[in-house]
Symmetry: C2
Subunit: 115 residues, 2 copies
Amino acid sequence: MSSVAKIALPLREASLTRIARWCHALSDETRLQIIDRLSAGEQCVCDLTDLLETGQSRLSFHLKTLKDAGILKDRREGRWVYYSLNPEAVEEMEQFVGGLKVCCQRLRKGTRCCD
Amino acid sequence: MSSVAKIALPLREASLTRIARWCHALSDETRLQIIDRLSAGEQCVCDLTDLLETGQSRLSFHLKTLKDAGILKDRREGRWVYYSLNPEAVEEMEQFVGGLKVCCQRLRKGTRCCD
DNA sequence: TTGACATATCAAAAAAAATTGATATATAAG
DNA sequence: CTTATATATCAATTTTTTTTGATATGTCAA
C-alpha cells in the first residue's frame, strides 16, 4: 500500500487546492514539454536546456514551478541536478481524473454519483 | 468505439496545446468547485450561483473558460442554461494522465518507455 | 408590448504569472 | 586559492488572467 492521500469526489477543500496547483503547473506548454521528456526518465537540467532551447533562468523557473507543485523531484549529483517525475503526484492526479471519468460514465447511464 | 483523439506520449504539438488548455481550465479553485458539482450531474447556472456564492458575471466567466477548453457542454432550456461535463474531454484527460502513470510505473521497475 | 428574469458580454482596474538579464551559490578542476 | 561550470535566485518589466460593475441579449409572462 502507498501512503498517497485519497482524492475523491466530492472534493474537499484541501484537495481542491492541491489539484489547482497541479493543474496550474501543467497549464503551460513549456512545462508540458518538460514532463514529456521526463516521462522517458530522469534528465539533468543541462540536457533539458539543450532540448527545449530556452534561457537558463526561464527553464529554472519552470522546473521550480513543477517541483513546488509536487510533480517533479530533484536530486543533485556533483555539479548537476537531475529532475524526474514524482510518481505519487502522478498517482493522485490519476485518481482525480479517473474519478471524474467514472462519474461521466455513470451520468451517461443515467445513474447519479458522488453524493 | 468513440471518436476521441489519442493522447499518447511522447506528446505531439497539438496534444500539448490541448492539454495545456484543459489544465489551465482546471487550475482555478472556483472552476474545480464547478466541476465537482457537475460531477454529480447537469446543473443550471442559477443553482451554481447559489452554491458557489459568487457574482453572476464572475461565474459566467468561469463557465465560459471551462466550456472554451472543451470540458463543459451547455444547453439552453427556456430561460435557463444547463451545464454538464463533456465526457469526451474527461476521457482524453484520463488517457494523458493514465499514460503518465504507466511511464512512472515502468520507470520504477527500471524499464524505459515512450521512445 | 412591456416588464421581469436568467445569462452573457464588455471595458476598465486589479492581481497574478512569465520573461529577462544580472547576480549568487555550489561544486569541481587546476 | 582561483577559476570555470551548473544551476538557482532576484528585481524589474511585460504579459496574461481575473474581478467588477455596467450593459446587452434572449425568453417568458402579464
